[in-house]
């Protein structure tokens, strides 16, 4: 017992520290470790092209679903084109689309580019509210001068 400090306060502090420090170290270590794999960046198609996003890296791709680009295949696969003002990106998705997915409206797809430059989406963000626009998408569109406030959605040309 001689190793323990004499004062009550110091002993209490030592005890607190000896429990809290390992937990803190564990928390920081685990948090840093887990962040490596699960942080994904948000890009619009032109930003993704400019950033040369590597194949297979999980990102979020946001933009407008180009008018007339949605193709529904019999096997349940859905192809469409996500566009911002400067670039477009083909997207393929297998699964059920959110109820509010519509051509000409904003969408956020989560997934990765395949070697052919097609964005393979694992998830399409669902929304509760047709007036809702993800803040990243709104900010990206504002930067490109495409934002026209609530209500008016930017319109993109019909399919070529």
């Amino acid at each position: 017992m001689s190793l323990l400090p004499k004062s009550r306060t110091a002993r209490r502090r030592l005890m607190t520290l000896s429990v809290a420090a390992p937990v803190l170290v564990l928390a920081v270590a685990v948090a840093l470790y887990a962040m490596r794999g699960s942080i994904s960046f948000f890009y619009t198609p032109s930003q993704a092209a400019a950033a040369h996003v590597p194949t297979g890296q999980a990102i979020q791709l946001g933009g407008m679903v180009r008018m007339g680009s949605v193709v529904k295949k019999p096997d349940g696969e859905i192809d469409f084109v996500v566009a911002d003002k400067r670039a477009t990106s083909p997207v393929t998705f297998k699964g059920e689309l959110p109820d509010l997915f519509r051509e000409g409206q904003g969408v956020v797809a989560i997934g990765a580019y395949d070697p052919d430059g097609v964005f393979v989406a694992k998830q399409i963000l669902a929304k509760h509210d047709e007036k809702y626009m993800p803040p990243e998408l709104a900010a990206a569109l504002k930067k490109q001068g495409e934002w026209r406030g609530d209500g008016a959605q930017p319109t993109y040309g019909a399919a070529p």
């Binding site: 685990v30 949605v70 109820d99 051509e103």
Partner: protein, 714 residues
Amino acid sequence: MIDELGQFALILALMLSLAQAGFSIAGRARRDAALTGAGEGAAMGAFVAIALGFAALIHAFVTSDFSVMNVAANSHTAKPLIYKIAGAWGSHEGSMLLWCLMLTGYGAVMAAARRLPFGLKASAVATQGLLGALFIGYMVFASNPLNRLASPPFQGDSLNPLLQDPALAGHPPFLYAGYVGFSVVFSLSAAALVEGRVDPAWARWIRPWTLAAWSFLTIGITMGSYWAYYELGWGGWWAWDPVENASFMPWLMGTALLHSAAVTEKRGALASWTVLLGIGAFTLSMMGAFLVRSGVLTSVHSFAIDPKRGVLLLGILGVAAGGGLALYAWRAPTLKDEAVFAPVSREGALFLNNILLAAATAVVLIGTLLPLIRSAIDGTPISVGAPYFNTTFGALVSPALIALPAGALLAWKRGDLPAALRRLWIAGLAAAVAILATFSLVTPRSLLAACGIGLGVWVIFGALAEAAERVRLFRAPLQEVGRRTLGLPRGAWGMTLAHIGIGVFALGASFETAWRAEATEALGLGQTMHLGGYTLRLERVAQEFGPNFEAERAYIRVTDASGALLCEAEPDRRLYAAGGQTVSGVAICPRLLDDVYVVSGEKRLGSSPAGGGGPQRGGGGSLPSSAAANQALSAASGGARVIAPPPPLRGPPPPTGEENATYLVRAYWNPWVHFVFAGPLIMALGGLVSLTDRRLRFAVTARVRAALAPAAAE
């Protein structure tokens, strides 16, 4: 007229809240019971006034008074009555009114409490009054639910159909009862700091409030999770979405608070830590309201936003939380917190639990706010995925669960760990058997999930062992066991129930996450698909009509491996004409612990198995409902929205035959998912049972009895 009276009542409530704070502060400073009495009266008056305002809003919704802006935006004459009433808190403005109703309600109950000492009560009532004035002021000036429209519309815009659901009608009241319940703990903590006194009696006074808030929050989160599970149609019950985290963080901190308050109550230790948690729990509740309602974070649950309100809510959060924390920084060093305790003791175990829960809260908080911080630093939008939360949260909560049964068996002051572990040999054996059995029998093999199952079994059996220990099961004559069982305080039963609940949840969460199955296929009429051991056969699809929607309903026969009928699943796709939205109605076939979960998707024409039709080009949504939806949408928004004409079909037109139509059917098998929802409900039940403990009401008698019979407790 009633609406204007309601407006008046809300403004009156604001004045009464200010009076509540003013009278209580003046009365506390002058030690004048008449003045503090006036403050308490004002607190009750504020509650009555808010209740009148709330009644006026309900009245406007029930009578579909579309001259009230909030009703016009969120109601519709064709909506069922229950959703008209629930619509009153479905919108931002209405939910803030509900928040204020709860805040003043809790304040009124606290003002009516008779046991609290003079100084503490006056300070707490004053703090509650200031909180009330902040939130009521925000509601009256920036988000008034009773504002009129200059030119009322003939029909309302209706409540978002996803929100027209029984679980969601009850979700906000429970959630807010939880969030706002922590306001009383916040006020009592601030009052304790002002008075400079934190002792076991104070810890006992915050206990019922913490228990009530925690139990309501548990129920509210579970209802929200269940709603997301069966309404959103993606088959999951938790996504670590910012809005979910916003409700989960106050819960975690409230759980920590319950345990640290027990240490303060029994041993007088951890006093300033308990006060900090008391302030933190309501701070996180307010932050939850801010995150949900300001829309600063991307969330699948986000609603359309008004940035001005976000800034105001942030201001309120800053003033209230900043004030509380500044008071803490200033006054906490004066609190006496000298008790030393041994590492191996009940309080030592509870301290470990608190450190782990606080760390878990911190990693969830960091993960939730990181996108915000990162985009503030260099403007890079990022998102933090569910794996981050699963790894960090799991790593921090698993040690807490491993330690739980042993900690609960340790004695206060100085515990005997080997003796505690010896009493847990059954639980240890059961957990080992569970891990081995799960790992070897369930395919595909997953050691992690098997350990999760083992952990759940360990916690459940540990809680039972602790209860058995208390009643001396198998160690005393049966008569004595019976006597002890009856004499056990409700608080002890509550604790056992809550611990069993967390174990049950761990079982369900581990099993469901590891072994859920999913299948998606385009089915023609009469075709089948397989999912786990089940076969799903699409029998027919019919057009049907509900009170305010029309539905395309699929009839799907679900049979198990032996061919026996499990159920007729009837998922549908509903088109709500009023808001122009299509919503999938999920069909769930429960079977013991499992669910077969079926969602019917869009109809696809011309995609015959022979492949004659080729891919179909067209807008989102199935053909008939999409066109109708677009029409309804343009009508509802007064033509402001640009609706593009349907794009021309390319290539040869598909064979028109309806006989070739297929429907995208998505199905999940969610094994043990019922445990996921039952666990938290058992926990909440434990909290409520604990709340009925007589000791909370007759603290003095209990203290006397405890002093007289220390021998009986050992």
